[in-house]
């Protein structure tokens, strides 16, 4: 199969359609009682886990494109990445607005004092930078440095996994599954990562 422009465009719409589903589900999730009497921590977790899933999905795209010999597939990566950033931002927003209720002193203190929140903030800042520079204009302007900047996603995905693991009260199986997935996706890039180290 060849991935021509119309097909790619349909695929892109499919990506948008699927990525928005977890958000559309939320009101129904509430109506159906999937959230408890204290829904804020659960909403936080829900938004965070979808950000992580989409982050892992962005890392699936280039190995998949190589495997399937479908080069243009890579052009979907920006859409998925921006959705990941959107969920991560909602996750952060829910924490600031609903959990800490705009208590700025406490928010600042928590970011500095809690290692896992520091890590979460750091990875959100990386995602923010990557989202801003995701346009073709920025790609042109940054030239070779663009790729260098966007390679930050590799440490960021590990940091996000640690953020998740560190944040749970008990039970390490779920965070472990995500960490293993991240390590697997990074291992597919070991040649590239080895080159980067040099």
């Amino acid at each position: 199969m060849r991935l021509d422009a119309p097909r790619l465009s349909r695929l892109r719409w499919l990506v948008h359609g699927l990525a928005v589903l977890p958000l559309l589900w939320l009101p129904w999730g509430f109506a159906a009682g999937h959230f408890s009497a204290d829904p804020v921590p659960e909403l936080l977790h829900y938004l965070g886990i979808w950000a992580l899933r989409l982050l892992l999905l962005t890392l699936c795209i280039s190995p998949l494109a190589k495997r399937l010999r479908l080069g243009p597939l890579v052009r979907l990566r920006r859409a998925v990445g921006l959705w990941c950033f959107a969920y991560a931002s909602l996750h952060l927003l829910a924490w600031v607005l609903l959990d800490l209720q705009l208590a700025w002193g406490l928010i600042g203190e928590e970011i500095v004092k809690r290692g896992f929140i520091t890590l979460g903030m750091a990875s959100w800042l990386v995602l923010l930078l990557l989202a801003i520079t995701s346009t073709q204009g920025w790609q042109r302007r940054l030239g070779r440095r663009w790729q260098k900047l966007h390679n930050w996603i590799y440490p960021a995905v590990l940091v996000v996994c640690v953020h998740f693991w560190w944040s749970v009260k008990s039970g390490w199986i779920e965070p472990l599954v995500y960490l293993l997935a991240a390590l697997f996706l990074l291992s597919l890039r070991r040649d590239k990562l080895a080159r980067l180290r040099r």
Partner: protein, 338 residues
């Protein structure tokens, strides 16, 4: 003459949000225009209700609780508005039935609480096994409206029914070697799915165990609890007998107790065993000592649910019971003994 002594821990009338302001808050949120948008959806009305917390979570109806006879000692009737019953009985940490807050109400209904016995042993002159339901008949139950503060930084206000823990300990005749009181929850993997599967049960080694120092256990506030909201305890809240120690984090309030042992040495506690760095033996509510992963200086007061249903308020030292219990810890470094 009727003399009313107000405890320091009781909120004064002016500190309680007047109902009309409380209702106003809700109307303001509704007025934000969210209403119009959401109501245009087919499921809109209930979605809106859920988001704003107008509709309380459904709870398994009935649950087989029976009404209790109890007294209302003035000292334990603070001017606090109890959390809605449906919230307090559908939002529980009881890992024996799953780690999700909604798991206990869903999976605890089959727990057989009749018959039920509690063994009292260890450093006592009169070791005994109590038939809970027969024992209950002979007790003078008190209603006590206590603040309930979870280590996860949320809080509720709950009217409990019970007897002072001290009474049952005294009846067993503690020896001079009794320095601590150890508690144990039922171990029955066939009834408790979290005990049958490490994944469901959050990786905890069961049975759940807890402990108090004997002077903490003998403090008048420590309540051996058999009911809430005027009825026997629902299973998800620890039927038929649980512990309530209101100046400590909620996890000290061990549920569905089957054994009370008096010991010479400090007994193990489940959360302390699982993560001693995060959960100490004392677990006193203390706004000045943070949990390693979050601040304990403030708490989310759980309202009637919904995204805007909780409010943040400062946490009080010893959960507001400083006057009654601070002397127990005189001279102790509460950062070390957290």
């Amino acid at each position: 003459m009727h003399i009313k002594i107000r405890k320091k821990s009781a909120l004064a009338e002016h500190q309680v949000t007047p109902e009309h302001i409380y209702l106003q808050r809700r109307r303001i949120i509704q007025g934000l225009g969210l209403g119009a948008a959401a109501l245009s959806l087919p499921a809109g009305a209930s979605v809106l209700d859920r988001l704003l917390g107008n509709q309380e979570p459904e709870v398994v109806a009935g649950g087989g609780q029976t009404p209790l006879n109890f007294e209302r000692p003035e000292a334990y009737q603070p001017a606090l508005t109890p959390t809605a019953e449906k919230v307090a009985t559908s939002y529980n940490n009881f890992y024996e039935f799953g780690t999700d807050k909604s798991d206990p109400v869903r999976y605890a209904q089959g727990l057989k609480t009749r018959p039920w016995t509690i063994a009292i042993d260890g450093e006592v002159d009169k070791p005994q096994t109590i038939d809970v339901w027969a024992w209950l008949e002979k007790q003078r139950l008190e209603e006590r409206i206590y603040r309930h503060r979870c280590v996860e930084a949320w809080s509720m206000v709950i009217p409990w029914m019970g007897v002072p823990l001290a009474s049952i300990i005294k009846a067993a005749g503690p020896t001079s070697r009794a320095k601590y009181v150890a508690f144990e929850t039922l171990y029955d993997p066939e009834q408790m799915r979290g005990q049958a599967s490490r994944y469901v049960g959050g990786g905890i080694d069961y049975p759940y165990v807890e402990g108090l120092r004997i002077d903490e256990a003998m403090n008048p506030l420590s309540l051996l609890t058999v009911g809430m909201y005027g009825k026997t305890l629902p299973n998800q809240n620890g039927a038929p007998v649980r512990l309530v120690v209101p100046w400590k984090y909620g996890f000290k309030g061990i549920k569905s107790i089957v054994r009370i042992s008096l010991t010479e040495h400090q007994p193990p506690c489940t959360w302390n065993l699982l993560a001693s760095y995060e959960y100490g033996f004392y677990a006193n509510v203390n706004p000045n000592v943070d949990h390693p992963r979050w601040s304990q200086a403030s708490e989310r007061v759980i309202g009637e649910g919904g995204l805007f249903g909780s409010q943040r308020q400062p946490t009080l030292m010893f959960n507001g019971y400083e006057e009654e219990v601070a002397s127990l810890y005189a001279g102790m470094d509460l950062r070390k003994f957290y």
